[in-house]
Symmetry: C2
Subunit: 315 residues, 2 copies
């Protein structure tokens, strides 16, 4: 019975390896055009809201790692001052639906200012229609509101903007992760806090915390390892750490458990991947796996939409 809970989310997750395996190939031509645009740009500004903004943040980190100037302005909306854009900038707009009104408005403004637009969407919507280059996360429909496979493939596409990448080691690592036994992971108290290391750590942690909240209905915070060690949250709470085998900051985590008197934390040590952005995608999937496992452990249906909606209300 327990395995019936969150069956839709589980199916979305199970499709992730296949999605990641095909995304770069099906976008090969568009990625070539998009790479030319970003290589010639003064800077790249990536726009998104929610999980798509988290994906954009990891993408910005991947572009910067490749030596290109990239960042993520504030989530757009009415009463939010729009970012400074110059005609030599490229704007990358990330949106699962491709229809979020605030993102459409931001993209139209960018086009009016002379910027070239790259869209990363999971459906042919208004954003794809107005973009100079359209990338398609090729993830198929998300069965539940809490997006998973489309977020992972969007990050892989954004990594592709920065240059050639081999997705095969990531696909293999994700397959292993999805097949792994999660019983040890859910043995104690529900995590209230997620920390992550590596490329785009703040966005990985934020996305994992959001997934735990969306699927399990509990309050969860997230931050990168370096922020956590700078001033660990002064709350005795169980922490889920998504860390890579060689992360030098991971060693400081065990001491925190004793120091802040929390329940034992969970350290999910991920497979070693050469490409830092692929490692970030693997960490994202690990957060999704943990979210499903914790929802089931608590008898909660990860598929339930609760207050969430795929239709955005922001303008």
């Amino acid at each position: 019975h327990e395995m019936l809970l969150g069956a839709g989310f589980a199916r979305d997750l199970a499709e992730t390896p296949a999605v990641l395996g095909r995304t770069l190939d099906t976008n090969a031509e568009a990625l070539g055009a998009a790479r030319l645009l970003v290589a010639g740009a003064a800077s790249v500004r990536l726009l998104g809201i929610g999980s798509s903004r988290h994906a954009a943040g990891i993408g910005a980190a991947a572009l910067e790692l490749a030596g290109m100037r990239a960042d993520v302005p504030p989530a757009p909306g009415s009463a939010v001052p729009p970012p400074v854009l110059r005609s030599a900038d490229v704007v990358v707009v990330v949106s699962q639906s491709g229809e979020t009104p605030a993102l459409v408005a931001a993209a139209l403004r960018a086009r009016d200012l002379g910027c070239r637009i790259i869209s990363v969407t999971n459906s042919r919507g208004r954003l794809a229609a107005l973009a100079d280059v359209r990338l398609d996360s090729s993830a198929g429909p998300e069965r539940v509101v809490a997006a998973s496979k489309s977020v992972s493939s969007s990050v892989l596409l954004l990594r592709g903007l920065a240059g050639d990448v081999d997705a095969l080691p990531l696909v293999t690592a994700v397959e292993q992760l999805l097949g792994a036994d999660t019983s040890r992971l859910v043995a104690g108290a529900h995590p209230g806090h997620v920390v992550a290391g590596g490329l785009g750590a703040e966005w990985v942690a934020a996305e994992a915390a959001l997934k735990l909240a969306e699927t399990g209905g509990r309050l969860v915070t997230g931050e990168p390892l370096v922020e956590h060690l700078h001033g660990p949250v002064a709350v005795p709470v169980t922490t889920l750490a998504l860390v890579e085998p060689d992360d030098p900051n991971a060693a400081g985590l065990a001491g925190d458990v004793a120091r802040i008197g929390s329940d034992p934390s969970y350290e999910l040590v991920l497979a070693r991947l050469t490409d830092p952005a692929c490692a970030a995608v693997l960490a994202l999937v690990a957060g999704q796996v943990a979210a499903l496992a914790w929802a089931r452990r608590g008898g909660v249906d990860a598929d339930a939409a609760r207050g969430l909606s795929k239709v955005t209300r922001t303008a």
Copy 2:
């Protein structure tokens, strides 16, 4: 007796109007030099960790509002890829202590790459020593680990980088806020989530959530209004909204309470200020006031350091 709890934090808060009233004057000469640097920069990248990074984020938004290209790279640390920097960029480093090793390392790297450095610190430390222009938040020592007055004055200084500003309306509004009755604010359940609107909303919300966590020992999340309305956290939790009188997104909040079945939320409507960055400082102080009020309401000492330390462990 209740008023003795958090006496140190209360004294830091009480000094905020005086600090804000003098900061621009005592930094007048340095601000003039710093403005010349940022006006001539290709772009401005602001670095910080923790509350200082939140301040940097609001500062970046203020610079962008004034038409300058500005952003906040990931919190620096070992294993965090450093930002792309060109010699025409100006790097602004924000740190209360002025000593955080990861920030010193980042500033030294920026200097080696030919960038000019502006420091914003609350003490003459290593960051001030290596900067081309030193701004001093002039806040006096923070009595407790949870920084307050120095964060507010750092944001005002960063606003000063963007051009002339009159601090007087802000000082008056902060005085009124500190003198206001908070009994209605703490009448129900402790907020588990903070949303904020206006300039730098994501950083204001993150800082208010951090202050509530640091002083009250409870888990609190934070996000900007536009993110909240895009996909409100799927957790039935009491929300504290820090909103400005004219924020068009604030109208959507009341519906959320009914929709996600949470306890009634708190809306703290702030004084109307013409300058958006000054409004952000006022919202920061409102978050601090709420944090102290909630700690006292729960019989918790806001001054207790818990697991927190002023000495950073990140490198």
